[in-house]
């Protein structure tokens, strides 16, 4: 049974505006590192944000871990979101908080409001955060403020925060497009290694086709809100590419 199943997903931001996603169908398996590629404006970011309902879909269905995402109330949605780790294009760290607190904030879904006021996270959480920070190579930066780090380091904090959630699914929204090529590759391979280590399926929206073919086992091609390709990386041909990026070629 697939981890994530999306049927006829549709999104429009306002009632009269154009549809950003126009009826998408796909599913993600437990072993997938699945890339969503497509030209800018194709709806990649919107798609990723629909999965954890940061963007509300206007139609279709999303079934995650066997539950209907769109039927959840606010409380259950939060419970669901804490099982979904998300890594963002611009890291989305709280700049004025320390690296440690940023990583710990990944546990907020499990922490009561009162505890979170005093930032009193359980001991296990702190230990886990330290381990993860060591794992992403930031042991020396634990107490620095997030905005004191370089781009690559900040994205590593973002990765640690997402893994803090002990996620059952990782959503990646262009995790490398704010980084330079060398660091992009490092970050991607770190994510791949960690995803394997923790056995988490990944749905990754990515601009760089090169990176997608290198790191992902499956590719979904998106153009103007419609799926143009879906299959294992090896089966993607030049013709598929041209179809997906037809708009940009023109």
């Amino acid at each position: 049974m697939p981890v994530l199943e999306v049927r006829d997903l549709r999104v429009r931001y306002n009632n009269t505006g154009p549809e950003i996603l126009r009826g998408l169908d796909f599913s993600v398996e437990a072993s997938d590192f699945c890339a969503v590629i497509g030209p800018s404006g194709a709806g990649k970011s919107t798609l990723i944000r629909c999965i954890n309902r940061l963007v509300e879909p206007s139609g279709g269905s999303i079934t995650l871990f066997g539950e209907d995402m769109l039927a959840l109330n606010a409380r259950d949605l939060r419970r669901m979101r804490r099982r979904i780790g998300m890594i963002f294009q611009e890291f989305n760290l709280v700049n004025r908080m320390s690296v440690m607190d940023n990583v710990l904030s990944g546990r907020l879904g499990y922490t009561g409001s009162l505890r979170s006021v005093f930032r009193l996270f359980p001991r296990e959480d702190v230990e886990k955060a330290l381990e993860l920070l060591a794992r992403v190579g930031l042991s020396d930066h634990v107490n620095k403020r997030a905005d004191a780090l370089s781009g690559g380091q900040r994205q590593r904090v973002g990765i640690a925060r997402a893994l803090m959630q002990q996620p059952d699914l990782l959503l990646l929204d262009e995790p490398t497009s704010a980084l330079d090529p060398k660091i992009s590759r490092d970050v991607m391979s770190l994510i791949r290694d960690l995803a394997r280590e923790f056995d988490v399926p990944v749905l990754c929206n990515i601009h760089d086709v090169q990176l997608a073919t290198e790191f992902c086992n499956r590719i979904i091609g998106l153009q103007d809100g419609i799926k143009k390709f879906d299959g294992p990386t090896e089966t993607m041909q030049k013709a598929n590419m041209e179809e997906i990026y037809a708009m940009e070629v023109l």
Binding site: V3, M100, V126, A129, L130, E131, L132, R135, F198, D199
Partner: protein, 282 residues
């Protein structure tokens, strides 16, 4: 899926981290304790009854509803009161205009980067602006009333002092933030200090100054509503009379007028400043 385990092989020495490192935490908590002690001491020193603090707002509400309601709206249309409203506006315009005009040279003196002389004019400018700011407009009013007697003149002078302090500070902040390159260029051509100010500084701050001046008028108008309370003329005088004669419904009517006028003045000055900002971009 839920069986995943974070227990990756641990590093030899498990890393340690605590939110409360020793010296920093001690300092922080001592500071916090100090603040709390100060607060407790103040409450004790001022003989405050905390229950009364909490009860104050409901009580104020009750009193407003009870004594001040309904406002005697008919009084607003009284010829003399309307005249005093007009006078209040006039006072605020004059006080604002005089204040801004005097504040410009003082701000020039009080700006460290372009002042005439760092040891004479700079402290003079700073001190004058600070003195004007330090003394509250009501105190200025009382002082001027004792010197020149009751009436709007005292009010205008008080507002002038207030505006010097208010606008002067903002002006000099603005001047200190200018681009010094044109100033240096002018100085290198042998221009005198006044020429440097007029050709190097003023063009850079002109639009900001106009914005600040409008804002100053807005604030001066708020102050003008009460200078009359201490004999400075304008509608504040009616407020004082109504207050001391315990004509609460009339006080309510005057207060409503003040709130309405201040809101209007805020909208007007906001609109003017917005236009100005638009022009700055154009």
């Amino acid at each position: 899926m839920s069986s995943q385990d974070m227990n990756t092989p641990r590093p030899a020495a498990p890393p340690q981290w605590t939110r409360f490192p020793f010296p920093e935490t001690l300092i922080r908590y001592s500071a916090l304790l100090g603040v709390l002690v100060f607060l407790a001491w103040s409450v004790h020193f001022l003989n405050l009854d905390l229950q009364r603090v909490l009860g104050a707002f409901p009580r104020l509400g009750a009193i407003l509803a009870d004594r001040y309601f309904p406002p005697e709206l008919g009084f607003i249309l009284d010829q003399r009161f309307l005249m005093s409203v007009l006078n209040t506006i006039q006072m605020s315009i004059l006080g604002g205009a005089f204040g801004v005009l005097l504040a410009i040279p003082l701000a020039w003196f009080a700006s460290h980067n372009v002042t005439l002389h760092r040891w004479i004019f700079y402290p003079f400018g700073r001190l004058s602006i600070m003195g004007c700011r330090a003394i509250h407009e009501t105190i200025w009013t009382i002082l001027f009333v004792t010197v020149i007697g009751f009436g709007m003149f005292a009010g205008v002078l008080a507002l002038t002092m207030f505006c010097i302090g208010f606008a002067g500070k903002l002006f000099s902040d603005e001047i200190e933030a200018i681009d010094m390159k044109p100033v240096e260029a002018l100085r290198s051509t042998g221009a005198g200090p006044l020429q440097v100010f007029v050709f190097g500084v003023l063009p850079q701050v002109k639009i900001a100054f106009v914005g600040i001046s409008i804002y100053t008028w807005d604030v001066a108008f708020r102050a003008a509503t009460v200078v009359g309370f201490f004999g400075g003329g304008g509608m504040g005088w009616y407020l004082q009379r109504a207050t001391y004669e315990l004509q609460s419904t009339r006080v309510a009517a005057i207060l409503l007028t003040i709130i309405a006028l201040v809101s209007i003045s805020e909208v007007v000055s906001g609109w003017l400043r917005q236009r100005l900002a638009g022009e700055r971009l154009a």
